[in-house]
């Protein structure tokens, strides 16, 4: 699955698309919010092992295993609004998770960003 050619994220994040968020979109945003809180706390307290484990779990178990699978039916047959909500949710997750991973994986995240 790719972002469509010329995709531009919403300036206001997902504020204007709130009504079109699916259960999966809301779930991954909640997981991301929890990850941001734990990453900040772990980083400040030098718990780098835990921080990396949580980031790994988010990328692999939440984002790749569940959310990307849950996106497929939306991208196949969802409305334009739900597709936009899903793509912007995915963009927010990738953007924030790459930033959080950057201190521990600087080169590859810089390349991907």
């Amino acid at each position: 699955m790719n972002f469509p050619e010329g995709f531009k994220p919403q300036v206001d994040g997902i504020q204007s698309l709130k009504a079109h968020l699916s259960l999966s979109d809301k779930w991954i945003l909640t997981r991301l919010s929890n990850l941001i809180t734990s990453t900040n706390s772990d980083f400040e307290n030098y718990k780098l092992g835990e921080m990396v484990n949580n980031l790994y779990d988010f990328w692999k178990k939440d984002l790749a295993d569940v959310y990307l699978e849950a996106l497929k039916p939306v991208m196949r047959s969802g409305s334009n609004e739900s597709k936009a909500a899903a793509l912007n949710t995915l963009y927010i997750c990738l953007d924030a998770a790459l930033k959080m991973l950057h201190p521990t994986m600087p080169y590859i995240t810089e390349e991907l960003f």
């Binding site: 699916s22 259960l23 999966s24 809301k26 779930w27 569940v66 699978e69 849950a70 497929k72 039916p73 047959s77």
Partner: protein
């Protein structure tokens, strides 16, 4: 979403334990006895279908009967999942797996029942732990009953 994920996880591990190929697109059914859980599954059917790579997904109410030739999996007291196995799996291997799980469950249940029958159990164990133990026993009994049903189904194939 937690329930949906858990159900997807159980179904995926059930399919993996049967050795079903990832491109087999099996027919799957989910039975929910609780009305709100049933409504959630209906709303999120396409997501669950994608998570389990199912060819067909049937959502059933508590009183509805599952399709013929299905093996069940246990998610919770309220949710049971079914995979249509005719033409998909090796029955001998599956019967051995059920026997092993039955033994595990019976051991766990007996151990817990023995602990609960001890004279000091009511005095020394806090109420929330007693409640959790009682729920565990119910869970074991439900799963054992499900497994008994599976043996009957298998031997009928």
């Amino acid at each position: 979403m937690k329930t949906l994920n858990e159900t997807g996880k159980i179904l995926r591990s059930q399919l993996a334990s049967y050795g079903v190929a990832s491109n087999a697109k099996p027919t799957i059914a989910v039975k929910a006895t609780n009305a709100s859980t049933h409504a959630m599954f209906v709303a999120e059917a396409e997501v669950l279908k994608s998570l389990t790579k199912a060819g067909e997904l049937i959502i059933l109410r508590g009183e509805e009967k599952e399709p013929e030739g299905c093996l069940s999996g246990f998610v919770s007291d309220e949710i049971t999942v079914y995979v249509k196995v005719i033409g998909l799996i090796d029955i001998k291997l599956e019967l051995a797996r059920i026997a092993k799980r039955q033994k595990q469950l019976t051991d766990l249940k007996d151990k817990l029942a023995k602990k609960m029958q001890a004279a000091s159990y009511m005095e020394r164990v806090p109420e929330h732990v007693r409640k959790a133990d009682a729920e565990k026993i119910t869970g074991y009994e439900t799963e054992l009953a499900t497994l008994e049903g599976q043996i009957v189904t298998f031997t009928a194939f």
